[in-house]
Amino acid sequence: MGLEAKDRIRVKLKENETSVRLLLAHPMHTGRAKNETGELIAAVFIQDIRCWRNDDQVLTIKCGTATARNPYFSFQLLGGQQGDKITIRWVDNMGAKGTAETIVR
């Protein structure tokens, strides 16, 4: 069996910044692909991803269908210290939601 599909965050404290990597579990159907029987698969894709550090919203990502399957993002946050809580939330076009959080150590 494969790994259970779930959203993952990895954070790493560096000299004066925190590196954040996100891997979301989402099929990201564009609405143009076909299944085995030749029917179009309806579009299902993440539209909005938000990232918080503690209580501050630091980044908003708006996605179209051209974001790859199981979206991956990596970025740096200036500063940061041990014990910071990094939270992400996403919403797709069907209204499905996901959330993940981690603590910087």
């Binding site: 708006k62 179209g64 991956y72 740096q76």
Partner: protein, 162 residues
């Protein structure tokens, strides 16, 4: 006679008032969901050309071609075997970045993603996108009220939007 006519007038007035209030309510009710939906810029993501997408997203499309944006697509650069997941990496020496936009010229809808930065977010930014066919991939950075654009031609073996 006069009484009748007065009553008629009254009902007509009443009707006018009620229809106009109804119209007002309908108008405000119709406006509301649009405002609520505005958090995902649908026009921009459904646009068919780069100019339209930028116009819908930013209100203008005057971009400066600039090399202050370092931009890598594909690995090895400018080439991808599988268009369904092509790595993108954006670096820049610019400060006060407000927004980064990634567009793929030949995709059915060019706008791939739009990132709203705050002051604490720093580059490099990395992600994966889908590319339908050999195409220019464009990164637009909005910083200090100006738009800086860099583009790369990417060759794709297998299209990624099917």
């Amino acid at each position: 006679m006069t009484k009748n006519r007065l009553e008629q007038r009254r009902t007509v007035l009443k009707n006018i008032i009620s229809t106009s209030t109804l119209a007002l309510v309908a108008a405000s009710g119709l406006l509301l969901p649009q405002r609520l939906l505005a958090h995902w810029p649908m026009d921009a993501f459904n646009a068919q050309t780069i100019e339209d997408a930028l116009m819908a997203l930013l209100g203008h499309a005057d971009v400066v071609n600039d090399s202050v944006v370092q931009f890598k697509v594909g690995s090895p650069p400018s080439y991808a075997v599988n268009g369904a997941s092509v790595p993108v990496e954006i670096r820049s020496t610019l400060e006060e970045i407000e927004r980064i936009i990634v567009l793929v010229e030949k995709n059915p809808n060019p706008l791939a993603m739009s990132l709203d930065f705050t002051a604490v977010v720093n580059l490099p930014f990395k992600s994966m996108i889908k590319i339908n066919e050999d195409s220019l991939v464009i990164a637009v950075i909005s910083a200090g009220g100006k738009l800086y654009k860099t583009s790369r031609m990417v060759e794709v073996d297998i299209g990624g939007c099917g």
